[in-house]
């Protein structure tokens, strides 16, 4: 990183910050939904009845949440107020928690 870069404002556009926050939320939601499907079989059945396969419904739920929240956060400029570096850390944290949450759940529960 050169001196010019460091001096400039570290802001992200409303679209970028909105979709980064949406991705962090969707990553955590993805793991929570996987836990719910595994822990409560009737919930898995409900999801299966929606698309014919519970995993397909899970994919659609994740994508709808990611795109929907991304558009909402972009329009309301909600995520733009968050410091960009904090947003990056939040995304890394959400992915790490989501990934470890999945692995540990299926390893021990």
């Amino acid at each position: 990183m050169n001196a010019t870069m460091a001096q400039q404002s570290p802001k992200l556009t409303a679209t970028t910050s909105g979709f980064v926050l949406a991705a962090a939320v969707a990553a955590l939601f993805n793991t929570a939904l996987a836990w719910a499907r595994d822990a409560y079989t009737p919930w898995n059945g409900i999801m299966k009845s929606l698309t014919g396969n519970a995993w397909t419904a899970h994919c659609l739920a994740d994508l709808v949440l990611f795109v929907g929240l991304g558009l909402i956060f972009t329009k309301t400029r909600a995520a733009e107020k968050i410091d960009p570096n904090r947003l990056t850390v939040a995304l890394i944290g959400a992915v790490a928690i989501g990934a470890l949450g999945l692995a540990l759940w299926f390893a021990f529960v």
């Binding site: 802001k11 993805n30 995304l91």
Partner: protein
Amino acid sequence: MNVSASDAVLLAHAGFGVTGCLAALWVFLEALHAEPGNAARIRAAALVTAVSMAAAWICGGYWYVHFYPAEKALILSGPWPFAHNLFMETKEHLFLITGMLAFLLPVTTREKLFSNAAARKLVLSVAALIVVTGLAVEGAGAVIEHGAKVSLLRGAKGDR
């Protein structure tokens, strides 16, 4: 040579996944040296990442829904049931995070990375997360296939 539809779809899934990981690594390396001259290349690589991961998602999803149930039964009856219970269960959900990150990457690379340190850090992080989770998913795929293989081998030897 006898390549079935199941084989072709499964290999396409793994191939697109590896391509997506390599494209994300390309974005990471270009972003380390972000300048106006490579901005278009970074965006192109980010797009390749998203398209490859989407293709891997579609191929993997199709194979999972149509062909995996038989392989799952085989794995669970063999000596490596954890290939499904731990590795497939984790992979089929972890990949969804990788996919969303891949769709996020082209959005983040629209920023001026050469003049915005925070945006550059964000792109480096997203690309690295895609590579790490993508490689974990690829590795899990290898364990799942080996789980099916050892089940077949034990069955063939009659010691199951």
